[in-house]
């Protein structure tokens, strides 16, 4: 070989070429696959909304079921005060707005989906919050009386398996079906409790060993539902 493989200049040139080639290859892969990954994200979002309504969907059926049950034209966007603002509900990425430090809590937007289940109008309230290790999110469906909960579903990015991660299990989210978000039109907080009194109204049993995640769900519900209760109050007047 003509060149000295162990000279400084060879080592530097070798690493520069390596980094450029690898960087370009990875960028190409990431850009090339982005549209498919984004499409997967859209379908996942639809599946999450449908699951709060108790409708099981797969990646193949999600689009059709979503179009069948969700009334796209009636779905709206709210500001923090619960006033209707311009925008299309599905276009709002609440997780991104929650994450983005440049967007103050007052600037966050709140999509409200309206679904038609066997003639009854059901509202779906999407929400996002903090767990122990990362984001948690969920959708709460509210019946046409704008108070009783029709169904709820939560999920998480990386909560502790067996503990906080259990928020996406039926034994936890099914409890919310007996709850309501308001009493005589005024907001009512849903407490997540440790003492086993979850069967009482306004209370839901938390998860043993998953206290911080449970509290995260409570905070997320509390912060988000108030906005929608304000909006529902204006509808009732």
């Amino acid at each position: 070989m003509k060149y000295d493989k162990n000279s400084n200049s060879y080592t530097i040139i070798f690493s520069v070429i390596l980094v450029v080639v690898v960087g370009a290859a990875l960028a190409a892969v990431a850009v090339g696959l982005k549209p498919i990954q984004d499409a997967n994200g859209v379908i996942k979002k639809k599946m999450d909304i449908l699951s709060a309504l108790g409708i099981e969907s797969t990646r193949k059926t999600a689009n059709d079921l979503y179009d069948q049950y969700i009334l796209e034209e009636e779905s709206i966007v709210l500001n923090t005060k619960g006033e209707k603002i311009e925008g299309k509900a599905f276009d709002i990425d609440i997780q991104k707005e929650f994450r983005d430090k440049k967007i103050s809590p007052e600037q966050r937007r709140f999509p409200l989906y309206v679904a038609n289940i066997e003639g009854e109008k059901i509202f779906v309230l999407p929400m996002v919050g903090k767990g122990l290790w990362g984001p948690i999110w969920g959708n709460v469906a509210v019946k046409s009386d704008m108070s009783s909960i029709y169904g709820a579903k939560f999920d998480h990015k990386g909560e502790t398996p067996g503990l906080g991660a259990e928020i996406n299990k039926p034994f936890f989210y099914e409890q919310f079906k007996q709850e309501s978000i308001s009493e005589n039109g005024a907001y009512k907080k849903i407490k997540i409790v440790k003492d086993g009194s979850g069967s009482q109204p306004g209370r839901v049993d938390g998860i043993t060993g998953g206290t911080i995640t449970s509290k995260g769900v409570e905070e997320m519900l509390d912060r988000t539902i108030q906005v929608y209760v304000n909006y529902f109050a204006t509808l009732k007047q």
Partner: protein, 227 residues
């Protein structure tokens, strides 16, 4: 590249590169490498298969790439170069999984990224690919990842059957969760009091499972027993 070689593609020596890691020199049970992922993702066969194929791609491709570059890589930064190869291949696997198997990517979550830290990879790159031609390196990569893969699948097989009562997602013993509100009842074995063993789903059981495989292997092949 293979035309230049005087020996046939699947000579005795080359065949040994594939068969050795399956038993006598198994990366998991003999070298005890890659245990972390063997514990974490062996709760279902599907996950084990996807994980094993990902490792197969990373080790085999990486071995070929490193072997092709072996005469060009400066000695002082060779570990870094191997790491770059491993990391980029793992990122590619992760992106591809996210695009085409999104649900699986979610289940495996961080463990795909953690393939980078799987000792089998760096072990093969440094010990084999740096000193051998591309074709044997490729076979060595295939052999080692198959050796790793079959252990994962066997462990996952037992964990899924006895931990979740399923095999490849299919319920074997009937419906295990009753939901009175929706009129779903226990069926099959569960009606008679059979319960899934939650301990098997937890990581420690994977260790027992691997240990049992090691035990069986060493009682069959006495050469493996250390003094």
């Amino acid at each position: 590249m293979s035309e230049k070689e005087k020996e046939p593609l699947f000579s005795k020596k080359n065949k040994k590169l594939i068969t050795d890691p399956l038993s006598e020199n198994n990366p998991v049970t003999v070298q005890v490498l890659g245990i972390c992922s063997a514990l974490a993702i062996t709760v279902s066969i599907e996950q084990a298969v996807v994980m094993a194929s990902s490792v197969l791609f990373v080790v085999a491709t990486g071995n070929v790439v490193i072997s092709l570059m072996r005469n060009l890589i400066p000695d002082r930064i060779r570990i870094i170069v191997q790491l770059v190869a491993a990391a980029s291949l793992v990122i590619i696997v992760n992106e591809v999984l996210k695009a085409f198997l999104p649900d699986m990517a979610e289940k495996l979550s961080v463990f795909v990224g953690l393939i980078i830290t799987n000792c089998i990879l760096m072990g093969r790159y440094e010990a084999f690919a740096m000193a051998n031609k591309p074709w044997p390196s490729f076979l060595d990569g295939i052999g080692n990842s198959l050796g790793y893969g079959w252990i994962l699948v066997v462990v996952a097989f037992f964990r899924e059957i006895f931990g979740a009562g399923k095999l490849a997602g299919f319920q074997l013993f009937g419906n295990s969760i009753a939901d009175k509100a929706n009129g779903i009842e226990l069926t099959g074995l569960y009606k008679y009091g059979y319960l899934n063993n939650n301990f098997i789903i937890l990581a420690p059981f994977a260790l027992f499972c691997v240990a049992i495989i090691i035990w069986i292997q060493r009682s069959v092949n006495k050469n493996l027993i250390e003094n």
